[in-house]
């Protein structure tokens, strides 16, 4: 069971890492943000699987923290990309 | 090879990468990124110290862990101050370099 969970974690990490190629290729910043979003979710899944396999204590709390921050990069990107007609320079 | 040794080697390589970026990249924000890479490499080397010092029922020595937590927070405050300086420079001069030859005539 342990080996299965670890293998699943490795597989998910590998697939989202392949998705990271979108940060490399873009072509636009939106695509890069999406790749970061996918890595965030995949990272949480990997963390949960590794924690279940290695029995490390308190990993659910780390996952909760990561889940709270899951939309952070996307929101920061959209916020700073928004038209700033009513904003100061 | 244990996870700790591997993390330590990763930390060593990150320090090398961070120093390289600091030396070679021109843009100040890129330099800041590299400063953070360098810092996290040092933190990882603390991590291997902690893991190898695991004793008395603790999986890892808590003292280096506490140092790293303090370090992450201090590195963040230094980065935030540097970003604020950089953005202010850009606001007032329209450029991000301090080199007088490079200041764009505007």
């Amino acid at each position: 069971m342990t080996d299965f969970l670890l293998a699943a974690a490795g597989l998910i990490l590998l697939t989202v890492a392949v998705g990271l190629a979108r940060i490399l290729r873009g072509p636009e910043n939106v695509d890069r943000t999406m790749a970061a979003q996918l890595l965030g979710t995949g990272g949480i899944a990997t963390l949960l699987l590794v924690a279940a396999a290695t029995g490390v204590r308190g990993a659910e709390d780390v996952a909760l923290g990561l889940a709270l921050l899951a939309a952070f990069a996307s929101v920061a990107f959209v916020n700073s990309a928004a038209p700033r007609q009513d904003d100061d320079p | 090879m244990t996870a700790a040794t591997l993390a330590g080697l990763t930390g060593a390589a990150l320090v090398g990468l961070g120093v390289y970026g600091l030396l070679v990249l021109a843009h100040p924000l890129r330099k800041l990124l590299c400063f953070n890479l360098l810092g996290s490499g040092v933190f990882l080397m603390f991590g291997i110290l902690a893991r190898k010092g695991g004793a008395a029922g603790f999986a890892a020595d808590p003292v280096p862990q506490a140092l790293v937590i303090t370090g992450i927070v201090v590195a963040f405050s230094a980065t935030a101050l540097a970003v604020a300086l950089l953005l202010r420079l850009f606001e007032t001069s329209g450029t991000v370099t301090l080199n007088p030859d490079e200041q764009r005539p505007e």
Binding site: L13, F72, A76 | A13, A59, T70, V73, F76, T97
Partner: protein, 317 residues
Amino acid sequence: MTVIEILDIGLAVLVLGVAAWTIAARELFAAAVGYVAYGLLLSLVWVRLFALDVALTEAAIGSGVTGVLLITAAMRLRGTDPPQASEQLRPMVRVAAATLCIAIAGVLAAGVLMMADPGPTLAPDVARHLGETGLGNPVTAVLMAFRAFDTMLEKVVLILAVIGVWSLAADDAWGSVAGPRPLAHHQGPLTFFAQLLPPVGIVVAVHIAWVGANEPGGAFQGGALLAAMAMIVLMARVVQAPAVDRRWLRVVLVAGPAMFLLIGMIGFAVAAGFLAYPDGIAKPLILFIEAFMVLSIAAVLPLLVIGPPNRPQAGPP
């Protein structure tokens, strides 16, 4: 080779690959997003090192809050990223720099490989005195009791950074408001999100700060998550940040270190000296200080991210 070893090696390769990418990236924004991904992968490495407190701090501050700071800065500095001609280094210089860095990394790697196993450790000392603090999480005990002086001064560093950032304000903006303006009318998914997430986030943050006494977590991590909630509300433009000359804001900013210092001073009178806690009530005192620290951290981090006040002061209403 076991499955876990393959996973560890894959993770290390991935961390180094993303780090190299943030250096090699052509565009500023791509490098900043790469750094966010890097921070997240790094917190997985910390989980593998059984340092959950560090993993949580790295996820919240190293990746989350720093990520927002860098992404916002990269968007504001759009168009400055192509390096100017004279700052392009000649290939020879690059090769020399690379050689130097490989040498540095090689020396450090040799140090890692030669490190004694088990290495030098203070863990037995911590274990021996952990009972006196009443805490169950040794990292919190180190931060709040055994190395309390460091932790207190680190809070002061945060406040100094805030003063530094504020002092960059233009003359006519001093004492006014920083960060994005709130929207006139609220609608859309982002507003909904900013109204729904913070209540949940506050519960999780308080939970993590509270269980920090015995489980991974603590004031830093809880405070950083609270700060993240404040930043979501600001970025969704639901409310604006308080003006920097508000007295209550300044009280909240210094509450953590001030309470730390006060209780540390009382240690002269009722315990062994500065920052010593009297026997028996160490744990409640530590939790009391931590409550104020959580508030201070939650206020400091967003203020550092949104930068100096940037709007001319409005006249009296």
